[in-house]
Every structure is written in C-alpha cells, then in structure tokens.
C-alpha cells in the first residue's frame, strides 16, 4: 500500500479513528497518548501535503477510486493546505497543554471523553478544509460542531452549559442554512462536487435560486464564523469553556468557517457573481466595520479577561471580513494571512490565560492585579500578543493591518485607512486595561506566594507567543503562502 498517495484521506482518517479508540481504551494516559499521536501525525501529514502542493500543484484524491464528480473528491490546493497546516499545528500545540490544564478543570474519569471530543473536533475541522464535496462540508461541519458543544459544556462553571446550549441552537441554525444553500445549488446543477458545481453555475449565475443559495450560505457561514451581528454565541462559549478548548476554538473554528466561505465564494460562485451582481462588497464592509468598532468597544468594558479577548476575537473577524470585502489580491491576502496571524495570537493569549486561571484562581481583572510581579513570563507573553492584536510592527498583527491598509489605498478609500487605525486605537484601550491591572496595580493580599503556571503549560503557550513574533519578523512563510493562495483563488473563476 502506498501511504504517500493516500495522505489526503489519512489527514482526516487518523484523528477520526483516534476518537473511538480513546473510548475503547478508557485510561486517561492511553487516551492522551493516542490523541497526541494522532494530532502530531495529522500535523506531519499537513506539512507533507503543503510541501507537495507547493512543488507540484493541486492534489485531487478520489475516495474509493470513484472519479469525481460522481465520487467524493478530496482536493488540496494552496489555500486548503495552508489552513490544514494551521488547524493541525494549533491542535499539536494545544494538546500537550491540555494534559496539565484539564487535570485542574475536569474530574479524572472524564478526561478520556475530553480527548475523544478533541479528536472528533479536529477530524471535523480538517475534513471541512480538505473535502471538495459540498455536502461533505456540511457533514464535517456538524462533526466538529457537535463535539465543540460537548467540549464547551465541559467547563466548570454552570454557565458553560447555557453557553453550549445557545451555541448549539445558533450553530444548528447556521448549519441548516448551509444545507439549504447546498440543496438549492444541487437542485440547480445536479452535482455536489465544488469544482463541477462552479463550472455548471457559469451560465446560470444570475438565476434567483442561485442567488438565494448564495444568501443562505453567506448567512449560515457568517453564523459559524461569528460575523457581527451574528456573534452572540461566541463570548460566552469562549469565556466558560475549559482553557484548552477556548484556545483551540478561538484559533481554529471560526477560521475554518472563513475558509469555507472563501471556498464557496471563489471556487463555486465566482467573484463576479458574488461581488458584482449583489452589493456584497458594501454589505461586508459595513458589517466588518461595525464588528471592528462595536466589538472592540464592548471588549473595553469587560471585567473578565476571557470575555474581553472573546469580544476582541469578534473584532478581529471584522478585519478578516474587511479584507474579503475589497475583492482584490491585496485584500484577499490580508484575509488569508490574518487567519493564521489571529490564530497564533489569540491561541497564545487563551493558553496563557489558562495558566493565569490556574495560578491566580481566576481571570477577572480584579484577580490579575499585580500579576506581573509573580508571573512575569505569562504577563509579558500576554502583552506581546496584545501588541499583535493592536498591530505593532514586529508582531504578526502588523502584517495583516499593513496589507489591509494597502488594499484600502489601492481602492482609493483613504477614509478606511483612517478607520482601521482608529479601531486599532480601541484595542490599545482594552489591552491597556490588562497592562494597568497586571503591571501598575498593587498585588492583592495572598498573591505574593503565587508562582508561574507549570512548565508543561508555559512551554506550549510560549511557543505560540514566539511564533507571533517570529512570523512578524520573518514574514516570507505565512505571507508568501497567503499571497500565492489568494492569487490561485482569484485566478480560478473570473
């Protein structure tokens, strides 16, 4: 058997098989070992696929050797390999962290279930990215969503249950909208293969059912990617989930939904249908700006750091969608590069906050007063990631903002440059609130004896913080991959 030829299938199958194995094995150590191995294997496969796509172009894998469009096709192009590396890479970093982290948050007999759900969620997310079949996207979306609801409900606070329930309702409505959209497209074209669908839609792009499908898919995916004002589920879900889960979700779940949106827009409908027949540019611009300003402002008034950074995530989604709304190479590059940049930054912050929760007993601003004196490394890490959220040069956040501004200037929209800078100023305020509490306020009583989080939690967090700076200085990897992916998307269907 040729393993190398079957890598696209293994990318999904490895974590998918790991999930039931953990249930059979039960023991928390065994479960952890199996899922860790699966996640690292998935990461290795993703890198191998990335290198192969970079060398020899798009990979089309036929499941069961049934040729598309009849059989299901797994399709790896530049964009999907980029997102695959991102998702599996974050999973590979978060998993080692989760071992010490959930030991403090969950009763030991439930640990193996955490790893089961984590493996399922990873399999679902990877499947959504790699598949070239419209209905498959829905099925993988539901695999990842259902496991996400369970992961959130594992949170210690009882509010985690309500957050999971609300996300279940919103998420299912979103997923159902996506099925309706896919169904309408299937009725029009008689195919589910994305590439085939795109070709068949060419002549009938203006038909009303096609535009209705576009609307359903946009709303459904916007719910999943938490575009303002469909973000209501996100702050509570991130705030009350276990730390490792918050970090993994913040870094991957919304990004994969953005990927699916890009896939439908550029590979199926074509940019012409989306941006010229409908006022999508204006719509996305307004929603993105509203998200950037409203969510950032709301973040400034949060007393709980996890909620604060959850609202900041909604604002950052605004930047991602803003890049999409330009419908230009620079704008799309900004969107794609910010997928990775925000994932690294926010993943790092939530991992560090998990350590804060362990050492300081909570993540409210009152709890972290004077934290810098007892946890200098963690505080410094959060500050660096905070600088990246603001967009300070030397961090990854700067690269994204830079490309957004370039895209805005290309379009001649100077007022937008102004707005991007102003919204970054608002993020200075909410990051500043953390800095003030941690560095400039006197420690509360009993804080003196506290120490840094255990090394097993610090190391993975540190790795993401390091990546935030590293990819901010040596930009060629992420930026190069993003601009190539953007060029490929734009070149696909015009």
């Amino acid at each position: 058997m040729d393993v190398a030829a079957n890598l696209p299938a293994l990318q999904v199958v490895v974590p998918l098989v790991a999930a039931p194995l953990t249930v059979l094995l039960r023991g928390r150590r065994l479960a952890f070992a199996v899922v860790l191995l699966a996640a690292w294997t998935a990461f290795a496969i993703a890198i191998a696929l990335w290198l192969r796509v970079d060398a020899s172009g798009t990979i089309s894998y036929h499941i069961g050797s049934w040729a598309p469009p009849w059989g299901i096709e797994y399709r790896v192009d530049r964009l999907s390999s980029y997102v695959l590396v991102l998702v599996s890479g974050i999973a590979a970093v978060v998993l080692p962290y989760s071992w010490p982290s959930i030991a403090r948050e969950l009763p030991p007999e439930r640990h193996y279930l955490f790893y089961t759900m984590f493996a399922l969620c990873l399999a679902g997310l990877l499947g959504m990215v790699i598949t070239g079949d419209a209905f498959n996207i829905f099925v993988f979306l539901e695999i990842s969503s259902l496991s996400t609801y369970v992961l959130i409900a594992l949170g210690r606070d009882r509010r985690a249950l309500l957050a999971a329930y609300q996300y279940l309702i919103m998420g299912t409505i979103g997923a159902t909208f996506i099925v309706i959209g896919v169904g309408l497209l299937y009725l029009q074209t008689g195919t589910l293969n994305l590439v085939d669908m795109g070709q068949r839609l060419h002549g009938i792009a203006g038909h009303r059912p096609v535009l209705a499908a576009l609307a359903f898919l946009t709303v459904g995916l916007s719910l999943k990617l938490a575009l303002f004002p469909l973000h209501q589920w996100l702050p509570n879900a991130y705030a009350y989930a276990p730390s490792a889960v918050s970090s993994f979700l913040a870094a991957t779940a919304t990004k994969v939904a953005v990927y699916a949106l890009l896939r439908f827009y550029y590979s199926v409908f074509g940019a012409n249908t989306v941006f010229q027949r409908l006022p999508m540019e204006e719509l996305m611009l307004v929603l993105a700006l509203a998200g950037m300003f409203v969510a950032s402002t709301v973040a400034c008034f949060q007393a709980d750091l996890k909620r604060l950074f959850a609202y900041s995530s909604v604002a950052q989604i605004g930047y991602i969608v803003l890049g999409l709304s330009f419908d230009s190479l620079a704008g799309l590059t900004a969107t794609i590069v910010h997928l990775a940049n925000h994932a690294l930054t926010k993943g790092g912050i939530f991992l560090l906050l998990g350590g804060v929760a362990v050492s300081m007993g909570g993540v409210s601003l009152a709890r972290v007063q004077g934290m810098a004196r007892v946890m200098p490394l963690t505080s410094f890490g959060i500050v660096i990631c905070g600088l990246s959220l603001i967009g300070v040069p030397g961090t990854v956040g700067f690269i994204s903002k830079w490309y957004l501004i370039v895209a805005a200037i290309e379009k001649g929209q100077w007022w937008l440059v102004f707005l991007i800078v102003i919204s970054s100023m608002i993020s200075v305020v909410y990051v500043g609130r953390f800095v003030e509490a941690a560095y400039f306020q006197a420690p509360r009583e009993g804080v003196r004896g506290r120490r840094e989080a255990p090394l097993a939690m610090l190391l993975p967090s540190g790795l993401l913080v390091f990546a935030t700076v590293c990819f901010g200085l040596a930009t060629s990897t992420t930026l190069g991959a993003a601009s190539l992916a953007a060029a490929e998307l734009l070149g696909g269907m015009r």
Binding site: R158, Y165, L168, I169, T172, V179, I180, G183, L187
Partner: protein
C-alpha cells in the same frame, strides 16, 4: 405553474418559517429544540421532493423503464437525519444538565439566576 405543482415547496417554506419562529420566540429550552427539529425537518423535504419524478422508478438500467427518480437526495437526507438526531440528543442532554444546575428550563429564569449570581459576586 400552479399552486398544486408547488405544494411541496409551500409546505417546506411553511415548516421552515414555523420552526425558526419557535426557536426565536419561545423561552422554554425544550420548545426551542422542538422548533429546531421542525426547522431541520423542512430541509429534508426540500431535498427529497424534487428527487421524485411521477412515474419514475429506481435507477436500474433495463429496457422496460425510461424514467428514473434520483436516489441521491434520499441518501444525503439519511445522513442529515442522523445529524439531526445527534443534535437533538445532545441538545436534550444539555437541557437535562441545565435543569440540574439551575432547576429551571425557562431561559428568562436562567438568565435572571445568572444575573443574581453575578451581582452576589461583586
């Protein structure tokens, strides 16, 4: 183009709107799930109804039949039904645990309890 020929679509749209309305308008967590179930079910009809051709048979190639119904929508919806069942099961399990934690399944009561707890913390 008569109402009768669009009967299936009319039913689909009615179920869709009714389900979505229940999810939004009701505060009872179980009723919300019922609405969600109706909403999802409407989509099954959206897929299956167009797959049926009057006089069509299963797609088996013989000389005696020339008109076939498309079996693919049924298969897709079989998958969607499984997803729907899983969602409903998980939703109900969450409601059971919410009831244990809050002693209520009315959204208003639960949110009020959360507010009281948040005020007490301060």
């Amino acid at each position: 183009m008569s109402v009768a020929s669009h009967f299936a679509y009319a039913v689909t749209v009615f179920l869709m709107i009714a389900g979505l309305f229940i999810v939004i308008a009701r505060g009872n967590l179980i009723k919300k799930l019922v609405g969600l179930g109706i909403f999802q079910t409407s989509v099954y009809l959206l897929y299956i109804a167009p797959g049926k051709l009057i006089g069509g048979t299963a797609p088996i190639v013989t000389e005696s039949y020339g008109v076939y119904s498309n079996p693919l929508p049924h298969v897709l919806i079989l998958t969607a039904i499984v997803v729907g069942v899983a969602t409903l099961a998980l939703g109900l399990a969450l409601v059971v645990r919410i009831r244990e934690a809050y002693d209520s399944i009315e959204e208003d009561d639960i949110l009020a309890a959360d507010r009281r707890a948040a005020d007490a913390e301060r």
